[in-house]
Structure formats: C-alpha cells, structure tokens
Amino acid sequence: MMVIRRFEEEAARNYAKGKIGGFLHLYIGQEAIAVAAAEVLEEGDYIFQTYRDHGIALARGMSPNAAMAELFGKDTGCSRGLGGSMHFFDVERGFLGGWAIVGGHLALAAGTAFKAKYSGEDRVTMCFFGEGSTNIGGFHEAMSLAGLWKLPVVFVCENNQYAMGTPLERTSPLKDLSIKAQGYGMLGDRLEGHDVEVVRERLGAAVGRARAGEGPTFVEILTYRFRGHSMSDPAKYRTRTELEQRKQQDPIAVVRGRLVDLGVEENALDDIDLEVDEEIDAAVRFADESAPAQEDVMMSTVLVAEDGS
C-alpha cells in the first residue's frame, strides 16, 4: 500500500512539473482493495481495470520503474509510452489493461473468463470498475453473459461515492448496488473497503467460488478517493469535512494501527517507509533518464505484421 501511495504522490508532483501529461486518475484512498485483490489472485489469473489503474498494476507486481516511465511517456514504460496513465499493460502478470471507456472492458473480462472455461484452465478473471459504470449498456451486457454462462469472473465495483462530480444518489435510485447481481443470476456481496484484511477475506471467497466453477460474483466495495477524479478536478462538489472524516479511515493508517497493536515497532514501519521512498525516487530517476517513446514502435504496432512479427 505504501508503494502505491508514494508512487501516486510522486506522480502528482511530476504532473505539476509537466513531466506527465494527459489524464492522471489517482487511486489514493482506495489502496486496500488493490492490495487485497492481488493477495487472493494466483499467477495465471487475469485482471482488468479502468483508467484508475496504477494501484492494481503495482499490487500485481509491476515495477514502479515501468509504471513511472509509462507516465513519463518513455520507451521503458509498461506500454512503451503509447498508453500513458490510463492504459497500463503487463501481460506477463495477467494485467490486461487499464481502459478508458466506461463499461467497455467488462465484456472483455467475461471474455477471458470464457476462454478459461472453454479451455478448461484454472484461471479466474477479476474486473474492476466504478459505481458510475453500473448504468451503461456495457455493464448490463457483460453481466448478463457472465451470469448466463456461469463464467469464472469476479466483478469488483469500487464504489468511491462519486462518478467524476456526481454523487451516487444522483445517478442511481438504489443505495445498495450489490442487489443488481440478482438480476443476472449471480451472487452479490457488499463491504467496506478500508480494512485490507476484510477485503481480502471477501474477495477471496468470490475468487474461490469462481475457481470452483460456481460462477461469477458481483462485489460492491465501499471506498473513497481522497483526490479529485483526475488532476484537473478541484473536487468542489464535496465538503472539506466530508473529506477529513473519510481520511479518518485511511486504509494505510488502519493497517499501521493494527500492526502497532500487534506489537510491531514504529521504527520498523518507518524503515519500510524510507525504503519505499527510495524505491519511488529511483523510479522517477529511471523514468527521467529513459529514452522517449519511439516512432517505429508506434508505426509497427498498429497491426500484427503478416510475417507474425
């Protein structure tokens, strides 16, 4: 969680410096979900996420170097500078993309789950999206097919309360989104997302069902983003008090408190923080010093060449 937090704080700083451009959507405040998800998934499983993708990519094991270099638009980035913040890829780790069209990637996740079932492979797909993505056709169609065919996929709705500037009560007549699962003949679950252990247990159960052939689960996780929707959003639609209240449940503080209660020395935790700081500083240096994205990569990757290269 510290790696994700520091990575993104550093990304925000470098955005302000003009080293990073375009859209930058931070995951700060939601880290427990990505970390718990990475814990319960196995090698060989697949992951899809929206444009808010740094957290899960790092949790899955992408190096901060490759992630930061992507934000800097460099050839050493995880998408060689072609994708940017919204389009991380790490195929080796089964991270099949950050996606920027709301609802567009849910059917893809049903598709990788379909492949697992088709080929009799023991692979689960986990697909993340925001609560704002539950009204669009892409959501309905993907859920319909996954439910019908009992595909091994877990749909994780990260309900951070706002879709851009719009609070949930202005986009849905439902308070509890997890009941949508019923309409698709799948199980629904609903939980708070600030305690990494709780999230791990419940996502673990959903993954277990998928792995056992018991079909998909729709999991709504209540969370909160501490920053704006993206760097250009001053987040005027919520009050300072609301934000400060939510920060009381910072997932990192929660874990830290628990570790201290368990008898871990504050010093030991501070040492970890320092190590993380160094790792992220190194990632920024790496990104800065890397060669820029290459024109021949851009030109040669539009299609697979007929000779297969």
């Binding site: 451009g21 375009g22 859209f23 992507e70 638009g73 460099k74 998408s79 500078g81 072609l82 994708g83 940017g84 913040s85 919204m86 389009h87 996606w99 920027a100 069209i101 709301v102 609802g103 567009g104 704002g132 993505s133 009204n135 669009i136 056709g137 892409g138 879709a163 851009m164 500037g165 719009t166 202005r170 986009t171 849905s172 639609y237 820029p292 994205a293 024109e295 851009m298 030109m299 539009v302």
Partner: protein, 328 residues
C-alpha cells in the same frame, strides 16, 4: 463586435435558444451541478433549473435515445457528449434511429436534435480519447455534421443547429474552447447558415481548405508562407455535411492548386470527399495534384513527442503548399 472565447460563444447560443424556446433543453453528464466537464454549460443550471439542464448517469446510449424519442414528439434536445469518443456507445441510436426516422417514416416524423461536445485530440489523452469523429458521421445520409473553427461560427451555427428540424452532429474542440474571437454584440442576433463555407483569408497563390484545430495551424502557416511571398487563400467549410464547395472551386480556379488540411485520419472522410469533388468540379484549372495533410494513420499515442508528429503540423502544411506550388 466583441471578443469572447469559443466556449462562451457556445454557452451564449444555448442560453439564447433556451430563452427563446421552451422546448429546448440540455442533457448530458456533468452539464448541471458540475457546470460542464469543460465549463461550456456554466451557469445554465442556475438559470434554467433541473427541469431543463439535466445531469445524466453515464449511459450515452440511453440518454441519446431519450433525446431522440423526446424530439420525435416535439422537444428540441441538446445532447452533450462529454467528448465525442463516448458517442460510440450511442452510435446505434444516432445512426439507426436519429438518421433514419424522418426518411423511414417518409417524412412523417421529424427529429430536431443536436448532439454536441468536444471532438478530436486534446493533449496526451491517448488512443481511446483522441478520435476525430467527422468521417464516421459524415458518411451518414440523414445527418447534418457541423464543425465550427471560430467562436463566431460556433455561436451562429449552434443557434442554427438548435433551430433546425434535422438531427445535427456538432463537433467542437477541447483545444478550441479557450480560443478568443470576434462575435456580434449582445442583442445582435446572428444565425450562421448550415451548409455554407467561409473565406477565412484571401490570397492568389494556393488554396487551403481546413477546419477545426488544424485551421489555426493553417492560418499560422499561411503567415509564414506570406513572408516568403506565397499568398494562401484559406477556406473553412464550417459544415461538413452538406458540403459547400462553391468557394473552394472559385478559389482553385484562381490559384490552380489546393491543399486540404484536417485532423481526421487520411482514409476517406470529408478530407477525401473535398479532394474528390474538386478534381471533378475544377479539373481543367488544376496545375498540381491535390494534396492532403492529415493526422498520421495510427491510433493516438500518449507520449507528447509522438502525438506532436501524429497531428498536422505547420511544417507539414508549408511543405505541402510548396510541393503543389513547385517551389523548394
């Protein structure tokens, strides 16, 4: 005349038309409480209330369809796409429904609706967020497609679009929202007619046709070329469907050469349509092959160094003008 920004020109057009006609309303994501993702609708919620300035969930296919249905029975919706990239999930509604209702009903049902929002590349927003959508929509009979370059045309054409009884695709530009330009004074109403091109710059040596963001690239290139003694005549089509080639043909008869500069991909689209028409309508007057300067034929990369090479540049415009003018 006074100087205002492109985004303010659009807002004035909506405001004036909403004041004039109670059946006009604005619907889209973040258009109300957030004051517009790009602040085009700033203040409209306060003025007209939630009945007429309507925030929607993220459901483009749904609210495009709701707009079309409402238009079939007498309302005049303005449907905002946060960007035109998101119109693809509403493509079916626009193409199978909006464009077909009047012809399929043999003229019995009209669809007076405007779909509007920013189109094209912004800056570093990568492959899924950088589409120049004119080719997709100009291919469809049953739609008007308008892409204004200046604040004055943005205002005058949006007002005409709202009053039109036909479905209109109205392509704005995120990078144009801050551009300032002359617009008639408050209280002076100007309706720019749909389907009329505009002479933007006079010159005798080479015709350039351009619209949208590249229009500004072209105007800057024309100044540089002028310093070298090459005077370009620049024509802005403003409406891409129906396309008015009369000024272009007249100009080419004088200059005998033409470069078309656009942001959309090179395969087909209005750029290719213009070239096709000019080679037929001005064949005997051409001294050089018609040239096009477009975005490169690739999905938009994120990295700035690459994006800058993909979009039409001043240098590429200048080179093309010199090629058709046979000067080095």
């Amino acid at each position: 005349m006074r100087e205002i920004r492109y985004r303010d020109a659009l807002r004035e057009a909506m405001l004036e038309e909403m004041e004039r006609d109670e059946s006009v309303f604005l619907m889209g994501e973040e258009v109300g409480h957030y004051q517009g993702a790009y602040k085009v609708s700033e203040g409209l919620l306060d003025k007209f209330g939630e009945r007429r300035v309507i925030d929607t969930p993220i459901a483009e296919g749904g609210f495009a369809g709701v707009g079309i249905g409402a238009a079939m029975v007498g309302l005049r919706p303005i449907i905002e796409f946060m960007t035109w990239n998101f119109s693809f999930v509403a493509f079916d509604q626009i193409i199978s429904n909006a464009a077909k209702i009047h012809p399929m009903s043999a003229g019995a049902v009209r669809v007076p609706i405007v779909f509007r929002g920013p189109n094209g590349a912004a800056k570093q927003v990568a492959a899924q967020h950088s589409h120049s959508c004119a080719p997709f929509y100009t291919n469809i009979p049953g739609l008007y497609v308008i892409q204004p370059s200046t604040p004055r045309d943005a205002k005058g054409l949006l007002k005409s679009a709202i009053r039109s009884d036909n479905p209109v695709v109205f392509l704005e530009g995120e990078t144009l929202y801050g551009v300032k330009g002359e617009v008639p004074d408050e209280g002076v109403e100007e309706l720019v007619p749909i389907g009329e091109s505009r002479l933007a710059r006079a010159g005798g040596h080479c015709t350039i046709v351009s619209w949208g963001r590249p229009y500004y690239t072209v105007m800057a290139a024309a100044e540089k070329l002028s310093a070298e003694g090459i005077e370009c005549e620049v024509i802005d089509p403003r409406t891409l469907r129906p396309l008015d080639t009369s000024l272009m043909v007249e100009s080419v008869k004088k200059t005998n050469r033409c470069v078309v500069v656009h942001e959309h991909w090179p395969y087909g689209g209005p750029g290719a349509e213009i070239v096709d028409r000019l080679q037929r309508e001005a064949f005997d007057y051409l001294d050089a092959p018609l040239e096009r300067v477009s975005s490169l034929d690739v999905p938009m990369p994120y990295a700035l160094n690459l994006e800058d090479t993909v979009l039409p540049t001043e240098d590429r415009v200048i080179d093309a003008v010199k090629r058709v003018s046979y000067v080095k």
